[in-house]
Symmetry: C2
Subunit: 394 residues, 2 copies
């Protein structure tokens, strides 16, 4: 097969999986038609095993079904489901005391937990901006932008987000830095505001100057405010899937800037490094965690294979091929995609497993929990054909 | 072999392992002779991989080396090491603002993290009371008692320990209930005070009325304040190793009460149930987590085998044999001890591995981190010969 046949084959497979397997699964088993919004804690067969609602997933699901409507197939039920999640968010997921969002709520929206991060807010914002594009209702883009500015204010206001560590250990995190790039970039599709590009510039500068560490060939997860390694088990942790996700956020931004050479180069470098840390030569797949000095990582799931690092590698390698034309990225894509398809889909009850042992066997077969639901898998299945379309246009 | 030969064989093996392997390992690799106290984040060979100090382990180690001095061999370096940990605690581990203790500090004692629980305080208190018995210095027993009363005050004072969940979900935890039994019982050995037995009575009543759930044949980890199942993934979680540890805390208390029949019966019932949930018939060993309704548990380590559930099963089955004379508990002891010895000890670099896959292979080989250090293994190695001694006296 030549390259374009391979690419078309992948594209068809991904689209079909989104349309016929993943998106219908959550419409059927996730959508709460009583209270609105989405349940994600479902077992292998899709049976509800916990009615706790993840606030992240109200936003993530609202984004995904709007994104599918915009880029895959404009089915009315996609828009309805997305709207249901966004309505649930607006009715129940904000703490009136300070405008911050909760982390978990009950089925009918009573608050259960609030945490010290802004991810709930970021996912809600991209749901609103994507829904604005899908529905044509500009007010949702405005809401997304207001929420984005609230996020910036929460981060900038001392005392609003309680730090995990006491002042002895000052730290800055890669997670929030990278999610703000993607959040701003998604909102920018729906509404213009200088704050969005300013945030992207700022986050890119932080990644370049603080988190990229060539001496370890690694993008670190947490460093001191002046970018030094925190020489502890947590500070030395490499999360290859997370870095690979960042790599494609950067490639997406590089493309927006007509493949700005410096940014493209940094993104490809991060992908190459992170693939080397993450790809398991013995069993295949992207492994969860490594230590940049080679000590045993102490996260209990360190040698497991989760679903999302695999899906992020599938997107990132395609983007890298689009950016560079280098065949090695198509080979990496084939490896990542083949391993993913050999281990993740559930042939019996649909959707994909999420939690595998290092050797690819299933550790536990639930289809969702507060961290797994309709996000990484459908985003990859929708996004990859879009990238392939761009490659084939050349 | 007859029973007493088996029992003597186990006793010798445990004592020898404590004296020649486990206790020397932490004296050599853990003791911080510069700042005092103990490091626990060491790799397979005992090399320091993170100088963060676990506050739990300053207390746990202070307890263990005092306990070894009192019950195994009165070696002066045991007492010195214990004192070093307790001195470090008193110098660095209390927050002067509210008297509560930290969770992690730096090598030289600067505070890193404080959490919402009282485990740091409980471990410090048993270190002090055990050290009081070892050294003969009664002031440490008085300190332990004062700290115990502080713990009770922290728990009783609204607002001092920030709850994990918002008021929508009121919950009480098995962990703190059971640790207070053991903490009070340890302190009672060194100093008399009505508050100690009152706490034990109160905790026993809570276990009996709130956490024991015959309809699931389970001791639950978290329930509503009136003892109802919280029907969520977390609420349904069974932690067999934890329940088995509670079972022997209860057997110890039952013995203190001349084998009070009701308490003995409840403890044996908890052990039987928890063994049935935890013992892995396919690969052996006690597994980490189960769901009381049979859904897949969502903890990433749910099917792993950690070191401490194995050591707790070794103690609990011996105690159960002492309590009941029922041979089935000796058979369970043999199973647990054989599996433990087949998989945990590191023949090459000493000490024991802590984190195994379900099939007993090593997931990562470090000897310690902020949750593994000199505690469960040496406690089992010292405690088991003490129980065997009592059995053989009969």
């Amino acid at each position: 097969m030549n390259h374009s046949e391979y690419l078309k084959g992948w594209s068809d497979r991904y689209r079909t999986d989104a349309l016929e397997n993943i998106l219908p699964f959550w419409l059927e088993h996730g959508w709460d038609r009583v209270n609105g919004g989405v349940y994600t804690c479902v077992d292998r067969e899709g049976r509800l095993m916990d009615s706790t609602k993840s606030v992240w997933f109200q936003g993530r699901c609202g984004f995904i079904y709007s994104f599918a409507y915009n880029n895959l197939d404009p089915r009315p039920e996609y828009l309805e489901f997305a709207k249901s999640c966004i309505d649930f968010i607006e009715a129940h997921c904000f703490d009136p005391a300070d405008g911050r969002m909760y982390f978990e709520v009950t089925a009918d929206g009573q608050p259960l937990r609030k945490r010290r991060y802004v991810f709930s807010e970021c996912f809600a914002a991209i749901a609103m901006s994507e829904y604005s594009l899908a529905s044509g209702d500009k007010t949702y883009a405005e809401k997304a932008l207001r929420l984005f500015k609230d996020i910036q204010r929460f981060i900038a206001t001392p005392g609003m987000l309680e730090p995990k560590y006491l002042p002895t250990q000052q730290a800055v995190g890669h997670s929030v830095t990278m999610i703000l790039i993607n959040t701003a970039a998604r909102i920018r599709e729906a509404i213009a505001d200088p704050a969005l590009n300013e945030q992207i510039d700022k986050s890119l500068e932080m990644i370049r100057t603080l988190f990229v560490h060539p001496e370890y060939k690694a993008l670190l997860e947490m460093v001191t405010p002046d970018g030094k390694l925190i020489d502890t088990l947590n500070g030395r942790t490499i999360n290859p899937g997370h870095c690979i996700e960042t790599a494609w956020f950067l490639l997406e931004e590089a493309k927006y800037r007509n493949w700005e050479p410096e940014l493209t180069k940094m993104a490809l470098q991060i992908l190459d490094w992170s693939w080397d840390w993450g790809w398991d030569e013995e069993f295949g797949g992207i492994i969860n965690f490594r230590d940049c000095k080679g000590f045993p990582n102490q996260d209990y799931s360190q040698d497991m294979k989760f679903w999302w690092p695999q899906t992020e590698a599938v997107i990132a390698t395609l983007y890298a091929y689009e950016a560079s034309g280098d065949d090695k990225y198509l080979e990496m894509h084939k490896k990542a995609s083949d391993w993913m398809y050999a281990h993740l889909p559930d042939p019996e009850f649909g959707e994909w497993f999420g939690y595998l042992h290092r050797d690819g066997t299933v550790a536990q077969p639930a289809k969702g929990n507060i961290f797994k639901g309709p996000f990484h898998i459908p985003r990859m299945l929708i996004k990859s054909p879009m990238i392939i379309g761009e490659i084939l246009k050349k």
